[in-house]
């Protein structure tokens, strides 16, 4: 069980304070998948970094992130190391650059297994082989004796997945796991991740700007805009009946309804820069359903069906 409560991130310097992420709350049961979607610069990566405990040194970090009852944001660096070894797995964005180029895949994987599971040399090798074959490699011994540059992106990603899940974590954070892979590999990798999730039952946070992936492979979807979770809800519900105007615009981009034949639909305007402070809803300047109040006051998060939405329309 992962619980994020009131997570806010802001940075301060001489010129002022900038709020980058505000009041993010959600919870995720074991075995379930939450997709965090949003466009570039919306704060997805910051939220993930905070969940992984990489922003613990920041002063303007508020709220709590609990994984199995342990608060990540208050953990010391020693506690963080134990947390990352035992409870939190991480699947990187760019698999080919994420494996150390000067070490053979085998020695890296064995090293991680030894560190995470207290096993010794030969045993680790066996674990590595069985893990790789369960992730769909036909000749694990051959893969283990290769360097990362000899593998394809998808293969590197599966090795990284093996590293993430070897200690049977409670939570796995996948930071755009498929963004640097081709469409065929993308589905294969998602299948691998879902397969191992079904076997181990970890909670999966899938950060992506790929709506197709988000809606097809997750139970819940959280939409981020301007550093806030503007809407969370069950995936199929958001797809069929989006609540927030931004969500419905996104879904429309995705399904291309309303676009001229052969054309595509896009949301006009640009998101507000983080350096502009704005008292109202940050989607105000692009919203098609804006009200007067949207310009002056930021909406609170309210319940809608089984999810939550932050919009004055509700």
């Amino acid at each position: 069980m992962t619980k994020v409560d009131g997570l806010s991130i802001s940075i301060k310097n001489k010129k002022g304070t900038w709020s980058l992420v505000r009041d993010v709350s959600f919870s995720l049961e074991r075995g379930r998948t939450l997709a965090i979607v949003g466009e570039s610069g919306s704060g997805k990566s910051l939220i993930t970094s905070a969940i992984l405990g990489m922003l613990n040194h920041l002063e303007g970090l508020e709220g709590s992130v609990e994984v199995c009852g342990r608060d990540v944001l208050k953990a010391s660096s020693r506690e963080l190391r134990t947390l990352r070894r035992n409870l939190i797995g991480y699947i990187p964005q760019n698999p080919r650059e994420s494996l150390t180029p000067t070490l053979k895949v085998g020695s890296q994987l064995v090293e991680v297994i030894a560190a995470k599971t207290d096993r010794k040399g030969r045993e680790c090798r066996l674990v590595a082989e069985s893990l790789l074959s369960s992730l769909g490699f036909s000749g694990p011994e051959r893969i283990l004796s290769m360097y990362p540059h000899q593998l394809s992106g998808g293969m590197c990603q599966r090795v990284a997945i093996a590293m993430a899940v070897v200690s049977r974590p409670a939570l796995v954070v996948a930071d755009e796991p498929t963004s640097s892979l081709d469409p065929l590999t993308k589905h294969k990798i998602m299948e691998v991740i879902k397969g191992i999730q079904a076997e181990q039952g970890f909670g999966l946070i899938l950060v992506t700007h790929d709506l197709d992936l988000a809606f097809s492979s997750s139970d819940q979807v959280a939409v981020v805009y301007g550093g806030r979770l503007v809407e969370t809800g069950a995936a199929e519900e958001l797809l069929l009946r989006p609540g927030h105007p931004y969500t419905s615009d996104l879904v429309r981009c995705f399904t291309r309804s309303g676009a001229e034949k052969g054309g595509s639909y896009y949301i006009p305007g640009e998101p507000l820069s983080i350096y502009t402070s704005f008292p109202g809803c940050r989607y105000f300047n692009r919203c098609r359903q804006r009200l007067e109040i949207c310009e002056t006051k930021e909406p609170a998060c309210v319940r809608r069906d089984r999810g939550r939405v932050a919009c004055w329309l509700y």
């Binding site: 992984l52 990489m54 963080l80 190391r81 134990t82 947390l83 990352r84 070894r85 035992n86 939190i88 991480y90 990187p92 964005q93 760019n94 650059e97 994420s98 494996l99 150390t100 180029p101 000067t102 070490l103 090293e111 991680v112 560190a115 995470k116 990284a160 590293m163 993430a164």
Partner: protein, 283 residues
């Protein structure tokens, strides 16, 4: 990554192959050669002092009648031992300080960089001379003194490398797998710094040999009966006009030895540089 990739380059380049062969020859002869010669490097025989090259003494004898060839071989051994350990200290300290500064950053980085800057300002030979004066003269203290100043540039280079690597995706992944600093430094940064370290080491060996020679010439080197290339050169210098071979042969040995290491270092440097360009971008 490593020696297996360098092997074809070494074999292709005859010149470098010759250097490598000469260095190995130096090492072998200096280790075993003294046993093959009939003369002990420290055995004096005043009756045969200052002889020129002959069948009995191939390179002649010095002012105490000691065989010059035997002394040169013993001297090369001492010089190589000093150079090896000075380089070992240089590489180890330089790598640890540099990688800690570059990887950890923040206060640690500022402290260690400050330390490097301070050491950088002091003339290195001043420190070496002071250390050899304070510590007792002897082989061990010479390489400690040399190691104590040689690590500074190495640390600076390695800090730059580690600083570049600290935000690399693979370091991030290692951190997110719960690896601590020591594990990241030894497992992930060390292999990436291998080319730089190897080149630095090869260039540091001739530096140490020359530094040791300099110390011996000014009288701070190894103690009296023992021979080193520096001691032989400074002894030879005193009777240079009358018995030039006493000076010439040690100098020739030193030049060839240093040249071999420098050429080898140059080749390593060039081949690592070429390889980092990649096959498709070769120019």
């Amino acid at each position: 990554m490593g020696l297996d990739m360098l092997y074809p380059r070494i074999v292709q380049n005859r010149f470098v192959l010759a250097c490598l062969f000469l260095i190995l020859l130096y090492i072998l002869i200096s280790l075993g050669g003294s046993f093959l010669l009939p003369h002990h490097p420290n055995a004096q025989s005043l009756a045969e002092a200052n002889r020129g090259p002959s069948f009995a003494n191939w390179l002649g004898t010095d002012y105490l009648g000691r065989d010059l060839l035997a002394r040169i071989l013993a001297g090369v051994r001492v010089s190589l031992i000093i150079a090896f350990f000075a380089t070992l200290i240089n590489i180890t300290v330089g790598f640890l300080v540099g990688s800690a500064a570059g990887l950890i950053g923040g206060v640690v980085d500022r402290f260690l960089t400050g330390l490097i800057d301070i050491f950088w300002c002091i003339p290195p030979f001043l420190v070496v001379v002071m250390l050899t004066v304070v510590l007792e003269p002897g082989i061990k203290n010479i390489f400690i003194a040399l190691g104590a100043v040689f690590w500074v540039p190495t640390a600076r280079i390695i800090r730059g490398e580690a600083y570049q690597l600290r935000n690399a995706p693979f370091i991030r992944l290692a951190r997110l797998q719960g690896a601590g600093y020591s594990r990241i430094i030894l497992l992930h940064i060390l292999p990436c710094c291998f080319p730089v370290l190897l080149t630095t080491a090869i260039f540091s060996i001739p530096d140490a040999i020359l530094a040791e020679a300099f110390l011996s010439i000014v009288g701070l080197g190894v103690t009296a009966p023992q021979a080193s290339l520096g001691v032989l050169i400074s002894d030879g210098l005193q009777s240079f006009r009358v018995y030039p071979w006493q000076w010439f042969f040690p100098v020739l040995t030193l030049i060839v030895l240093v040249l071999c290491f420098n050429l080898l270092g140059d080749m390593l440097h060039r081949s690592f540089r070429d390889r980092s360009k990649g096959i498709l971008e070769y120019d």
